[in-house]
């Protein structure tokens, strides 16, 4: 690839940081992207790879082989990617010309065995050309319908034979319920070993999600109180301001429960509640996550409608900025009963969490874009002081996943002045203020980890299955008796249907207004 220019990432403000990312080195390999002509490839994957290249984290013995059915040439693939990334390319022209020299394309129909056999030959040629040492990462960025059959054709062509040299990355969604996830797991596990399978969950690529682990297990002050004796309840929120955008086709068949809760919120739940692993090792961590998910359940499994609220945004906004209701969005069935909001209550039946309610909510067209985990602690046993707000505010630890990544702690202090009144204050840690470093986009981290063969941030088969099993009563109810879990409309730009507040009001609680 020749000489690389110094890349001064202009976003960096600490000049001593530039170029110091001598992280784990990705070994020589060929990354094969199926679905190379699709949306994800040019919007996320190639930009992430180019970023890795500019950070000098890709080895020189590296190639990307794009595959899809349309008969592009290497050149066409390169120029289309350059077009899609025109802004980055114009800023870093020489880096792009070096990077694009390692982009290749091969027309492959993943359904056609002979195409995949031919792919094997092409890969051998690339191994020789780029000294990629026979290491391959196959990224399935195709329709979920092809995940199973795609793995099978790869395996039949002998491309997954060596567990140390080949791996498969599978995009979301992994199944649409417990049964289909289990079946898909059976298929992919028959094609290779579990260590070769990397199931993507985008939330795990976020620095602050990873920070939950560090915060909990690198400090001694949290863990002793991280349990039912001290924690009264936990709220996990992932709020979006956007509506369904162009993804109506997909969203109509999925809904908020499948799109967000089963994967992202459940991963946040698992990281927040898992036991400490014995060591920082992918399997040890994933064992603990799987265990806690297996111990999780809906607050009322017999009558799931009592612990879950579904909603759908209707029109809203202001006259100046009107917001369309979900049913009027392009591509959406005007009578759609797909939920764009869901809130629910869970319990975890183990020694640490018995009896502590966990409230999860997510929705589109909410007032703020924000993800956070809020742990509310039990009240002080005796109220010695008058509180400014009537009763003292319970301590809260807030883990901000996005935006304003960081953590906050709410506690009571003496209100200034005579007397002994207390009032809450907020102690805040912000990633930006402390590090000033933009953290990597999730795909950068996840792609790098997959190519490094580090599965820590990918979901294992038992985790996926446990997560689907957890929501099975709800999915079945929506399927068999949807009237029991009605869709509550909520005005676009508000915090969801009022019924969601009732979920908490039973216990005298309220959702945090972030």
């Amino acid at each position: 690839m020749g000489k690389r220019a110094i890349e001064m990432a202009h976003t960096l403000t600490n000049p001593l940081r530039v170029g110091l990312r001598q992280e784990r080195v990705i070994s020589p390999q060929c990354l094969v992207i199926f679905g190379a002509s699709g949306d994800l490839t040019h919007r996320k994957l190639i930009p992430a790879l180019f970023e890795l290249f500019r950070q000098r984290r890709l080895p020189s013995e590296f190639a990307v082989l794009g595959c899809a059915r349309r008969p592009w040439s290497d050149e066409e693939f390169r120029s289309r990617m350059a077009e899609a990334l025109s802004e980055e390319v114009s800023q870093h022209q020489s880096a792009w010309s070096q990077f694009s020299a390692c982009l290749f394309y091969e027309p492959v129909d993943l359904q056609q065995q002979q195409d995949v056999e031919r792919l094997g030959t092409r890969l051998e040629a690339i191994d020789r050309l780029k000294a990629t040492r026979g290491n391959r990462t196959f990224y399935l960025s195709v329709s979920p319908a092809f995940y199973g059959s795609g793995c099978r054709t790869l395996a039949n062509a002998g491309l997954l034979k060596d567990p140390n040299r080949s791996r498969v990355v599978i995009e979301k969604p992994f199944g649409r319920d417990y049964g289909s996830a289990e079946q898909l797991n059976r298929i992919v596990q028959a094609c290779g070993q579990e260590q070769q399978i990397f199931r993507i969950d985008h939330y795990l690529g976020k620095e602050t999600v990873q920070n939950i682990l560090v915060l909990r297990f690198a400090n001694t002050i949290f863990e002793p109180i991280w349990n039912r004796n001290y924690i009264a309840n936990v709220q996990i929120t992932a709020a979006e301001t956007v509506g369904v955008e162009e993804r109506a086709g997909y969203y109509e068949s999925s809904g908020a429960l499948r799109d967000m809760v089963q994967n992202h919120l459940t991963q946040m739940l698992a990281l927040t509640t898992m036991e400490a692993p014995g060591r920082f090792d992918p399997e040890a961590i994933r064992n603990e996550k799987a265990k806690v998910l297996q111990a999780s359940r809906l607050a009322n499994e017999e009558e799931p409608w009592k612990c879950c609220v579904r909603g759908q945004y209707s029109e809203g906004g202001s006259p100046a900025m009107p917001l369309t209701g979900y049913r009027a969005e392009p591509g959406v069935n005007p009578n759609s009963t797909t939920e764009t909001y869901v809130a629910m209550k869970l319990f975890i039946d183990n020694w640490r969490w018995q009896g502590v309610p966990f409230y999860l909510r997510t929705g589109k067209r909410l007032p703020k874009r924000l993800s956070e985990v809020v742990l509310t602690f039990r009240e002080a046993p005796v109220h010695l002081f008058d509180a400014a707000g009537g009763s003292p505010t319970a301590n809260q630890l807030i883990l901000r996943i996005q935006p304003d990544e960081g953590a906050g702690f709410v506690f009571e202090v003496k209100a200034p002045g005579s007397g002994m009144r207390s009032r809450p204050v907020d102690m805040h840690f912000s990633y930006d203020e402390s590090f000033g470093e933009p953290s990597d986009e999730g795909y950068v981290r996840l792609l790098a980890d997959a190519m490094l063969g580090d599965p820590t941030l990918f979901t294992r088969s038992d985790e996926v299955e446990a997560a689907w099993r957890l929501y099975t009563p709800l999915l079945e109810l929506i399927e068999d008796a949807p009237w029991q879990l009605p869709i509550h409309p909520y005005e676009a730009g508000t915090w969801g249907p009022g019924a969601a507040d009732n979920l908490m009001a039973e216990e005298g609680l309220m959702w945090r207004r972030p």
Partner: protein, 433 residues
Amino acid sequence: MAPQLTLQAPLALPPSEVPGYLNNLWSEGLLGSAGAATFTLLVWEPSWLQQQLIRTGRIDGPISGLLNEELLEAAREAIPACGLPCSTAPTATELAWALGQQPGEHTADDLRGQFVDRAISAHRPRRLITLAPTLAADKPLETLVAAYCPLPEERSGSEDACGDVVVLRGGMGALHQGLAMLQPLIEPDLPCWVWWNGSMDESPELLEALAVPPRRLVVDSSSGDPRRCLDLLVERIATGQAVNDLNWLRLRSWRESLAMAFDPPSRQSALDRVVQLDIDMEGHHPVKGLLLAAWIADRLGWHLQSSYWIPGDEGQQGIGAEFERNDGESVQVRLMPVPVGITKTHPGALVGLRLICAPPGQAPLCVILCSESGGCMRLEAGGAASMELAEEVVPLPNESEEMEMARLLGGGHDSTNPLLAAAAPLAAKLLPQ
């Protein structure tokens, strides 16, 4: 990771038969193996220190080319015995030279090139070529070859990767002769690494002949005359060849710790207001300290005005320099050798660093980094009381050369690291004539 011996006993062949033998080996089925498309690693392995310690009876053989604890201990004991200053590092070239003046006729098996560190073998080199010069300058050329396979527990599921090992052994004259047979042994389509695992100022013609671009060169600028080390680095980087310097890589934790001290945005403005930089180092080999100072100066955009020698303790000289910041203010830089009880393995290891910033209208900020193993009292003394003080301990990297080398072989090093490419020429200018 314990080094491991080639599984096959190496076969001594006449040099002329080596290429043919290896071609046969590869055509008989190895070609499909994963080692087929990796790289060639060519190692210059003089191991003078080990050879001299063995010859003078200070350690037992075999000659392995590896730096182990026993060897380092014997070397440390030999330092005073050879009349060298106690700040001499065990791997300093002076020690091997001084041992060479001492009597001794002990001999040992020479297994250089036949030990493959697992960290390296894990990358499955297609071919490992070792040049092993002997103390006796007139020894004729011997060539050894062996097929090499990782131990079963390292192998992945399938039948797997093998490579081969070639050793060229003999006196310097013989090795020069052997150069001619090397070229055909290096697969032209695969990357080739040349690891100059010896002093940078010996056998310049041999280095010249081995390290031709686009081969990737790995050197250690803590070994050899400082001027020659820096000039060679600069010259090689200028050719566009990929140059990796183990001495620079060993600075990793210092660079990281210093960057960390300035991560909080509230501190970053202080970086524009540095007035003084002090670096304390072991012994009199200043290259490591110079590279660190040059990196800082380059990152902060300082311009070198002058550099000069500073007389120090025990006749050891320090280096002073004046830089100009972008705003025209001046920055004073000092690198001083300091006495230490036990030296680290490589010459010129860093003891401490102090960076003083004077932002207008604020208390001065003083950042002190100390190496884990020693205090840096000199830097902590004097005047720091009125400043905002930030002290960090820099962890000692605890990795063998082979681990460091394995990391390079892991990939991503086809060009010189741009930070090194910028720091090396400045370091060369910082070293006073």
